[in-house]
């Protein structure tokens, strides 16, 4: 029971981080709390959040996927070309298929050739970025299909479609992670791949699937960005990989694997989105925005870790200036 409460508290804690930033902003700017602005934040966050959702699976598995931004760019361009030539459904299918194949390649590289995922996905990122430029000759591809534009620009029940997509993806994949056998295997493999293998888990398959999920969600994010801009930009996704990883880690998922949640990632992505939004609202000097953003991230993550040890201090009654003593395993992991 206590651990249940604890884990609920630790998820709530991530939400608190968001609330804190939110409260500061709603005091500072009258616009912040307006429904349109909040929907804007949701809209602006949706792309990075989708990338971060897939990345969460990969990171819980103690791997990393640097290719998500480039995968987004590549699949966007393929989607837009297919849309131009063959219509809506083939375009969606092509985009998702491209995302899945990219994920499959990443997964195979990481599992079958034992390449570290950092370098394997860095290489696929480079290849994809180049291919995108090659097939487009560097030019954006216009999207005029009205239905497709709706993915980015329409509203449903007053809420922009990208926000719906984000909510559905997080609901679905959050459920898969928390409640299914596959999700459990993801945690186990990420925590200790060897123990997982000895328990009969096909760890390679799990990893490949996670990379595929990451690729497919990158393609989905690509739909949103393309539909919002009514154009597929060859360079659309560049740099988004770091934002996605940052969202995952701010959301409490450990790069060492075995721990994390999609709710945390959503909050992490929203924290980043809210910071961006707030700085725009408050007219922070563009040069200083990076400074502020960096400091807020530091503060948020610092408080996150600190509240943890404060809570530990209180409940564990360690007292007497003793440092909180996590189990050896936990402390070893925490250092990563």
């Amino acid at each position: 029971m206590t651990s249940k409460l604890k884990s609920a508290a630790s998820q709530l804690r991530a939400v608190w981080m968001l609330l804190l930033v939110g409260i500061v902003l709603s005091v500072a700017s009258p616009v912040f709390l307006t429904p349109t602005n909040l929907l804007n934040v949701g809209l602006a966050t949706s792309v990075a959040a989708l990338l971060a959702a897939g990345q969460t699976y990969v990171i819980i598995l103690a791997e990393i996927d640097l290719s998500v931004g480039a995968a987004l760019g590549f699949s966007s361009v393929i989607t837009a070309m297919t849309l131009r030539d063959h219509g809506l459904l083939p375009a969606l299918a092509a985009g998702l298929a491209v995302g899945a194949v990219i994920g499959l390649v990443n997964g195979l590289l990481v599992t079958k050739t034992r390449m570290p995922s950092f370098i394997a996905t860095l290489a696929t990122m480079s290849v994809l970025a180049g291919l995108t430029l090659q097939i487009t000759a560097g030019n954006p591809i216009a999207v005029t299909d009205y239905d497709f534009q709706g993915i980015g620009q329409a509203r449903f029940a007053g809420i922009p479609v990208p926000v719906w997509i984000m909510l559905v993806v997080f609901g679905l994949f959050g459920f898969v992670l928390a409640r299914t056998r596959f999700g459990r295997f993801v945690y186990a493999t990420g925590d200790n791949a060897e123990a997982a293998r000895l328990s009969g888990i096909r760890t390679h398959r799990i990893k490949i699937l996670a990379f595929v999920i990451s690729g497919v969600l990158a393609a989905t994010a690509g739909f949103i960005i393309t539909a919002r801009l009514s154009t597929a930009q060859p360079t659309a996704g560049s740099g988004l990989e770091l934002a996605a990883i940052a969202a995952v880690i701010i959301g409490g998922t450990s790069l060492a694997g075995g721990r994390g949640s999609l709710l945390g990632t959503l909050v992490g992505a929203l924290v980043l989105g809210v910071i961006d939004n707030g700085m725009n609202l408050l007219d922070v000097s563009p040069f200083l925005q990076n400074v502020v953003k960096g400091l807020v991230i530091l503060l948020a993550v610092f408080l996150d870790r600190n509240i943890d040890s404060l809570r530990a201090l209180v409940t564990r009654r360690d007292g007497a200036g003793a440092p909180p003593a996590p189990t050896p395993v936990a402390s070893e992991l925490a250092q990563r």
Partner: protein, 497 residues
């Protein structure tokens, strides 16, 4: 060194682990510290070494209060610890020599620049003193468990010692190596070094200790010279009750062959034929490196057989990987629970159900949590895994309880064949007895058990039959009157001594 502990307290959260521990160790004295899993022995060790800070209480060294804020400070006073877990002692990617002299407090191999040559020579010499021949340039991660343990011991001995704490040093050692270690400990005692020796093997404790201190639920329940004690009294102090039967062996063997192995071949063993019957416990004896662990791993699909055949309950099976093994209802208890056994940051419950999760997630892959909780809860209480909650991280359990959790994982798969490699390593007497009862229950249900253990009394008592391996071949089969420790040793060592 004269070490006094006065009323030491230590808690982790709500868990009061040490509740006022007081005892002392005189110079040149070997004090054995015994107690159930989770009694607080390792915690006490870490308090003495400066790895943990006590919540209350004092440490006195030669009558002067000492408080170690970190391990360095304790080491500076000549306190050296061999921690229970490999993870806390060694560096898998560093060589044996680098592991042994990682700190080199005396700066024997250079103040700033290190002479790797001299370091390697010194390491080789130190290991030979312990009767070990190990290539000191090998990364420690490549060594077997026993070799690692010897490196840890050698590492501790490289320093000028005044107090040595050994936390279950023999759990991974066989008789011969243990004897080497005891000789070293006696040598240190003669040189005036104090020793705290933690073990679950009472026979060792009575061989080695000058005094025995029993810890129970964080308190000292017995502290007396060895001469005044007998095993029964110690056990009573440990578990609060008398244990009338250490080895509650039940004979459930039938005539029905469950596991049959013919002509199994592999890099580490040759021409192995085995037949294990329903309800039978087949023990495998042998010394370190004889190939018995490799045999179990091969049967479980970890390193597939190069030749030979296996059948389970009369059906031939091809075990190419772990999944094949599990599908054939073969279970395997790894001797290395840290690396191969448990997912330390996952909950006890999730670990216990990991290999049988299929049974609790039929349609749509969704895990039926209530069903899972009920089943794991049952096994957790059957095996008396001591945990704050089934949702606690398994890494927060004491070593013995982790071992029981690992056992529970395989019980949950309802195996036909259970391969066990050192199943009671690091497990206290009470829990051992519990594990033996579980084995009884499984054999009563017709499970065929293969038991590899370096604990000879256990092997003899718990097996219906023992085969002995030497250099990768089966050299003897012992049962009934012919089954005793001497015979196993004789067959295991012939030609090797």
């Amino acid at each position: 060194m004269h070490l006094q502990l006065v009323d030491v307290h230590k808690s982790f959260g709500d868990n009061s682990v040490l509740r006022g521990v007081s005892f002392e160790v005189s110079p040149g004295e070997v004090v054995a510290l015994v107690g159930e899993n989770g009694a607080g022995k390792s915690t006490l060790t870490r308090v003495i070494s400066g790895a943990h800070q006590p919540d209350a209480g004092r440490l006195l060294i030669d009558g002067v209060p000492a408080a170690f804020k970190d391990p360095q400070s304790a080491m500076a006073r000549g306190i050296e610890v061999i921690y229970q877990e490999f993870q806390q002692n060694l560096f898998p990617h560093l060589t044996v020599a680098e592991n042994m002299y990682v700190l080199d407090r005396e700066r024997r191999f250079g103040n700033l620049f290190v002479s790797k040559q001299r370091m390697a020579e010194a390491a080789g010499t130190a290991l030979r003193r312990l009767g070990m021949e190990i290539d000191v340039h090998r990364p420690v991660g490549d060594l077997g468990v026993a070799e690692r343990q010897m490196v840890e011991i050698a590492k501790a001995m490289t320093h000028d010692l005044s107090l040595l704490i050994l936390d279950e040093p023999t759990a991974a050692l066989d008789e011969r190596e243990s004897e080497q270690l005891f000789a070293q400990v006696r040598g240190l005692r003669a040189a005036g070094v104090s020793v705290i020796y933690i073990s679950h093997r009472l026979d060792e404790v009575f061989q080695l200790a000058d005094r025995i201190v029993v810890l129970r639920d964080g308190r000292v329940t017995l502290d007396a010279p060895r001469g005044e004690l007998d095993p029964d009294r110690v056990v009573t102090a440990m578990v609060g009750d008398t244990v009338d039967d250490f080895y509650p062996k039940e004979r459930n063997a039938t005539n029905q062959v469950v596991l049959e192995v013919r002509g199994a071949r592999h890099a580490d063993f040759h021409d192995v034929d085995l037949r294990v019957h329903a309800g039978e416990v087949l023990g495998i004896g042998g010394v370190v490196g004889c190939g018995r662990s490799s045999l179990l791993r091969a049967l479980f699909g970890l390193r597939p057989l190069a030749g030979g055949s296996v059948s389970v309950a009369g059906t031939p099976v091809r075990v190419r990987d772990v999944r094949d093994a599990i599908d054939s209802r073969i279970a395997y208890l790894s001797p290395d629970r840290q690396a191969e056994g448990l997912c330390m940051s996952l909950s006890v419950e999730a670990n216990v159900s990991l290999a049988s999760l299929r049974d609790y997630s039929p349609a749509g892959n969704v895990v039926r949590r209530a069903k899972e909780r009920a089943a794991t809860g049952q096994v957790i209480s059957d095996l008396r895994v001591r945990t704050a909650s089934p949702a606690a991280a398994v890494g927060s359990l004491s070593g013995g309880n982790q071992q029981k959790a690992l056992f529970a994982k395989w019980v949950m798969t309802r195996p036909r064949v259970l391969l066990m490699d050192e199943p009671t390593r690091g497990v206290d007497v009470g829990a051992k007895t519990e594990i033996y009862r579980i084995i009884n229950k499984l054999t009563a249900d017709g499970v065929a058990v293969v038991l590899v253990s370096s604990d000879l009394p256990e092997l003899v008592a718990m097996s219906d039959r023992v085969v002995v391996m030497r250099e990768g071949r089966l050299v003897a089969e012992l049962a009934g009157d012919r089954l005793d420790e001497q015979s196993i040793l004789k067959h295991a060592l012939v030609g090797a001594v």
